[in-house]
Amino acid sequence: MATVAIKEVTKEYVLDKTKVQALRGVSLQVEEGEFVTIAGSSGSGKSTLLNLIGCLDHPTSGQIFIGDTQVHTMTEKQLDSLRLNTIGFIFQSFNLIPVLNVYENIELPLLAMKGVSAEERRSRVNYFMEAVGLKALAKHKPSELSGGQRQRVAIARALATKPKLVLADEPTANLDSKTGIEIIELMHEISRREKTTFIFSTHDPKVMQRADRIFYLQDGVINKEEKR
């Protein structure tokens, strides 16, 4: 079964009296453990699409499945739980909690989860800190880290809950290109090792080449799909 399946999804934003058609019928399917990218220029609808997949917003029409659950029929509570347990998020500007140190940032979603023991929490945080190479910086605040290091913390935080799916909206946009490639490589490696499905968006051709599959998005439609 596909991890993510999207069928004829449209999204329309209403701004005052004008309507913006951000997505005009997008269908795609991402299989378990795949490492795929949504590629497109600014304004093509990448963030809109990822927000819909991440259950942060509702589509105007069409269907979205995460695993075998159809998400647009779910209540707010169910969506909270789905995001917590099934989906990990990585953001363009890292979005770490400034008052918490590296360890605490990674631990945060685990604290909201039910049935994770203190023991289990500690071992997972340590495991993922190791995986992103930040063990030595556990006690540091985000403000003391470089952009690349911050995004590594965000990756560890997204993976700590062992999600089936990780969504990353332009994770390299705020990084220099060398660091950006490193981050994508790290994500890819973890995706393979943990068998986690990754969907990230980018407008950077060098970055998109690292994905298993590329969906080219333009003006709210996918006009090309490339398997590598």
Partner: protein, 415 residues
């Protein structure tokens, strides 16, 4: 629970802001403890003084209505007949028990010494009266000798106005219940002050029952009231009810006698305390409004400053309710610590003061008497904490709800 580590870190992150809110909570808590202790003391002391000198724990009268009026007129429109008074006294003493049952006559009179004249209320006490001596502090002379006619106990300020000393004879003029003028000569045997009540310049003088009956023209032994004293103030209401039941059982329901516990007899004296109390409570209420505005404002700023953080928390799966709790905890940590500090300081101040008699200066001596002991009460500290925590809840829930309800997509938008 470790989730609230975040709240704690945020409190420490912005110490200035936390301190500002904390300071006001501290102030409110401190003032509440001090003023509550103070007014509870004043109220209790005044109540005790009123009970000892005027109202007893409950009173049996032939009419209803206020006892203390600002026009200081307190004769009754009807009197308790001698046989009724005897019967009630017997019921109380045989069936209910009381530390003292005193028959009294209350009236208005005019004291005169030469050209000096001074209106006064007078209380005639039967020979069983003892409790009044507790609140009537002698400056000079002695209390009444039970059963001795034409003896007079004067308040110090009345004695000053009339320029009399113990041993002097003064004229006491009054109008009987039938409208006839009458005058007696009486001897001042004691001059003193009634705890608390003298400060209200409430002109009252004590004499024996028979003399007072003569001044009212009560030739058949009628009295104004029976004043009943108990061991325990808290028993007043129930004792009054028991007497009512016993009197009904004894077939006295048609006599028109009313039984009133002291709580309903304080009149304007007690309302003076209530007035001061509500003025102070109004001030504290104003402070509480300021605190509430501060809390709402603080949360509003948090909502603006941490927009992205709030959206991130929601996106990674922290529920709306958990978010509300995180922000409320942040406010509660500040407020709880500050309230605890304020209550502790207030409690310590009250505890220390409760060991010393305080000398009250004008205009406070009016309410307090010249020396008073403030009362320390653990329950009271707890109730202040309860009030402050409730205030914090009321002020913070809605803003926290609003913050936590921000839509993640809106807060996460990249520019």
């Amino acid at each position: 629970m470790k989730l609230f580590n975040l709240s704690f870190k945020n409190v420490l992150e912005n110490p200035k802001r936390s301190m500002t809110l904390g300071f006001f909570i501290f102030l409110v808590s401190l003032l509440m403890v001090l003023s509550n202790s103070f007014f509870a003391t004043v109220k209790n002391n005044l109540e005790n003084a009123l009970i000892d000198s005027f109202t007893g724990h409950y009173m049996v009268r032939a009419s209803e209505g206020e006892l203390f009026r600002t026009d200081v007129r307190w004769w009754e429109s009807s009197y308790v007949q001698a046989d009724q008074a005897a019967q009630v006294k017997q019921i109380i003493e045989q069936k209910l028990g009381a530390t003292e049952v005193t028959a009294r006559v209350r009236h208005n009179a005019m004291f005169s010494v030469g050209v000096q004249k001074q209106p006064s209320m007078i209380i005639g006490l039967d020979s069983s009266a003892k409790t009044y001596t507790k609140s009537f502090e002698l400056v000079e002379g002695r209390h009444l000798t039970p059963g001795n006619p034409d003896e007079l106990l004067l308040s110090e300020f009345q004695a000053k106005k009339l320029e009399v000393k113990v041993g002097d004879i003064i004229g006491v003029e009054s109008v009987t219940k039938d409208g006839d003028p009458i005058e007696r000569e009486m001897k001042v045997v004691g001059i003193g002050n009634m705890n608390y009540i003298s400060n209200f310049r409430f002109p009252v003088a004590f004499m024996d029952l028979k003399s007072a009956q003569a001044l009212v023209g009560l030739t058949n032994g009628e009295v104004s009231d029976l004043t009943v004293y108990l061991d325990d103030k808290s028993q007043a209401e129930s004792a009054a009810q028991s007497l009512q039941a016993e009197m009904t059982a004894a077939g006295m329901s048609g006599t028109g006698l009313t039984i009133t516990p002291f709580g309903k007899l304080g009149g304007f004296l007690m309302s003076t305390v209530s007035l001061y109390m509500s003025m102070f409570n109004g001030f504290i209420g104003l402070l509480m409004v300021i605190v509430a505005i501060l809390i709402v404002n603080l949360l509003f700023m948090i909502g603006l400053e941490r927009r992205q953080e709030i959206g991130t928390l929601r996106a990674i799966g922290i529920s709306r309710m958990q978010n509300i709790l995180i922000f409320m905890t942040e406010i509660y940590i500040i407020c709880y610590v500050a309230a605890l500090a304020g209550i502790a300081l207030g409690g310590i101040i009250v505890k220390i003061l409760s060991n010393f008699g305080l000398k009250a200066a004008a205009p406070l001596d009016y309410l307090l008497g010249r020396e008073f002991f403030i009362q320390f009460d653990w329950m009271q500290l707890g109730s202040v904490m309860g009030v402050v925590m409730t205030l914090v809840f009321i002020a913070s829930f809605w803003p926290c709800y609003r913050i936590a309800s921000l839509k993640p997509v809106d807060t996460l938008k990249e520019i």
